[in-house]
């Protein structure tokens, strides 16, 4: 049994040790906001928080997350930074298909909380490795800057 604490709830799950945290959240807990785009750390679609810090959910063996607080986008509904980000993402057309969005939001929130969203150049640098195939990033950069105000 693997004991996971996700978005404040505890779950005991029979998983295989090789399962990734992102996979278990999606397939076993129905928390599908965490998306999978590459399974090798390059795209950022699977970003989630482990003890409050963003990590690639596809690269964490699930058992390693035992004893740590897992937070997915679903658990950030009422987060004040996330609320601002959601408004700004809509206002700046920062998403099209929406597949990269959850990972992008998790990364953007972290940039804002670390004070690394003070200029467009800084936001762009901070979003390295967050792939979006649809938007060309301009809307995302503008939205993060606005939400950081």
């Amino acid at each position: 049994m693997t004991r996971l604490c996700v978005n404040g709830e505890t779950h005991d799950l029979a998983c295989e040790d090789r399962d990734s945290l992102a996979g278990v959240l999606r397939d076993r807990l129905g928390l599908t906001a965490t998306r999978i785009g590459c399974q090798h750390g390059s795209c950022g679609a699977c970003n989630l928080l482990l003890d409050g810090v963003p990590v690639r959910g596809c690269l964490v063996p699930v058992a390693l997350a035992e004893g740590q607080a897992v937070t997915t986008l679903e658990g950030l509904r009422d987060d004040p930074v996330m609320i601002r980000l959601r408004e700004a993402f809509t206002a700046h057309h920062a998403l099209q298909c929406g597949y990269c969005t959850a990972g992008m939001l998790v990364a953007a929130r972290d940039l804002i909380l670390r004070g690394r969203a003070t200029s467009a150049a800084e936001v762009r640098a901070g979003l390295a490795g967050q792939l979006c195939r649809c938007t060309g990033y301009d809307g995302i950069v503008a939205a993060v800057l606005q939400a950081a105000q």
Binding site: R18, P61, G129
Partner: protein, 241 residues
Amino acid sequence: MIPAPFTLRRTADWDALPALLEDALPLGGGQSLMPLLALRLAEPAALVPLRDLPGLSEIAERDGALWIGAGVTHARIEDGIGPVPLREWLSLVASGIAYRPVRNLGTLGGSLALHDPASDWPVALLALGASAVLRQGDMRRVLLVEKFCTGAFATALQPGEVIEAVTIPIPATGTRFGWCKLAPAPGAFAEALAGVLHAPGAAPRIAVASPAGARLMPEAPPPDDPHLARLRDVAIRRAGA
């Protein structure tokens, strides 16, 4: 892209570690190992996470050197550890590795242990004259990075032995450090890497990425590919050699 089955064996006991590692691989941050396993390029029966081992994330100044536990993450180094100017140099190197969510888990020890010839830490640590503290049970040995890195993806680690920490000599006043990473995009693995340490009164110490892994100039073998060889010359120059 799912790894072959493995079990995860957790331990917080240095003495138990060598036996657990007999048919297993140590797991640092998993940021290199998990992709390798997902591609089934390696199929270990078990993984042993190192992060619960006491002291693995310790940072301390002792005996004129900065001691950085092998489990210290790139992100923590990026945010600043140790005394200035080393602090800034290390932060510069760390911030160029991968992306923040990867840096939040990837460790200094894991990078050095893997010794991917395109990875940043082995070259940077070599330039800085660092040593690896290797530990097996309660036995320790300390190797200079140039002795530790034996070839691409090859190190002096013995079975059952892991990196416990890295120590970096605190640079003498007036020492300068130059770093150049040429990569296809920010955070990507390098095509050329060079780190140069100028200690006052000493010849510059130039470390580069080479087909044989991190090596000091001039003995580092040149890349076979003329394009990469050219980039390496540029990197060495830009690092301030």
